[in-house]
Point group: C2
Chain length 238, copies 2
């Protein structure tokens, strides 16, 4: 029986302007050795590969788009390639694949067939925000995107505040940039003066900002987040 | 007034044998430009710096050890240096500082004085395990080390299993290598046949292993983890 291929999880940068020296050399070597890619968005995957190697033979590559519209068929096609011995790279639109994108499903299928999975080191906005917040990293929860309805969102935020106060857990969440100011408004209006909030925006970009303050302080120091990829954290020091 | 210094969070490798090309170039440039370091363990910090640059002037550097025995005095000394305009790097024994080490306290203090904090991209075993597991990355909780008492540990593991089944949250936890086999035993004895468990050991090392299986399958495929840094995950596919 032929040997199976390997599945590599290739990290992308966190934004167009980011220089490539935040991606480790090993990732560049492996990514540019591959010719089959399962990607969240073809354009950003091509851009990454071209940045890694200006001579990279994009036209010889096979890209399979994986998003909420893609289905069983694409996944099975990719799995069959792995089983037949071909190596595949998963590339997300930004950061590490599998955090908030459809890559995880292919990884899960790969395990079911005994395919070797290789997660690779690279940028992750929630992780950079967590370590840069100064909040406890011993115990934390990542919640992804918040509910769209204000009432549901406020309830979540208050739950995070309560749990952080009682158990010391750090709560990490985010939203799409155009809703960031609604989230911030809710945080500043609904949480207690002394609750600590970290706002981390544009991480790894030239205009990165990360700062932990009390809600009271933030009320006087809020800034425009409506166009900035932002991670919010509620927590306390260890 | 003089400008404040900056605080850099420098990732370490995940083990002695790891090659340096899993650390991004930017981290190497910045780390080797610094001369003051707040470190979890002086030996591993020196080793990292020497690996980054064989000519690195270790003897011109000031290392302050930060662990559970160090106190207010060391922290204040470091904070004063930052306030006076000196740059400082935090280096953990392994991986990104601030996840399960004393670095977070200095970061928190730095924010209180308006010091610029710069988290840098690098290896993190729980993150690699999470993306490599194939479990949902939309919602997850990191619990750090498990309780030492068997009864308490089993209760936690059952809570994780229940929550993962009900809410789809991925639960991530670990223990010191010499207790890994007790954790594995509890997982295999106490959880349900069809619950999915990912075991990720020696990540980024030559003998890295990461695999997601059902508890039933693991019972027939368990391997020795007693000397391997290991991350355990309970979860399900998205």
């Amino acid at each position: 029986m032929a040997q199976s291929g390997k599945l590599f999880l290739i990290p992308n940068t966190l934004g167009g302007e980011t220089v490539l020296d935040i991606i480790p050399q090993e990732v560049i070597s492996i990514a540019t050795s591959l010719r089959i890619f399962a990607v969240e968005e073809i354009k950003s995957a091509r851009r990454l590969l071209r940045k890694m190697d200006r001579e990279f033979p994009i036209d010889e590559c096979h890209f399979v788009q994986m998003n909420k519209h893609s289905g069983e068929k694409e996944l099975m096609e990719l799995l069959m390639k792995l089983v037949r011995g071909e190596n595949i790279g998963i590339i997300s639109e930004a950061g590490c694949p599998g955090i908030a994108d459809p890559g995880a499903e292919l990884v899960h299928l790969a395990h079911s067939q005994g395919i070797e999975v290789n997660p690779m080191v690279g940028p992750s906005s929630f992780l950079l925000a967590l370590i840069g917040s100064g909040f406890s990293g011993q115990k934390f929860s990542f919640h992804g995107y918040l509910p769209k309805e204000r009432k549901d969102r406020v309830k979540k935020l208050k739950d995070f505040e309560m749990d952080s106060r009682r158990n010391g857990t750090t709560h990490i969440f985010m939203d799409t940039p155009f809703r960031n100011m609604h989230v911030l408004e809710d945080l500043l209006n609904e949480l207690s003066d002394l609750t600590e909030l970290c706002i981390a925006s544009n991480l790894t970009l030239h205009n990165a900002r990360i700062r932990t303050r009390t809600i009271k302080d933030w009320r006087e120091n809020a800034y425009d987040l409506s166009k900035s990829p932002t991670v919010f954290l509620i927590g306390k020091s260890q």
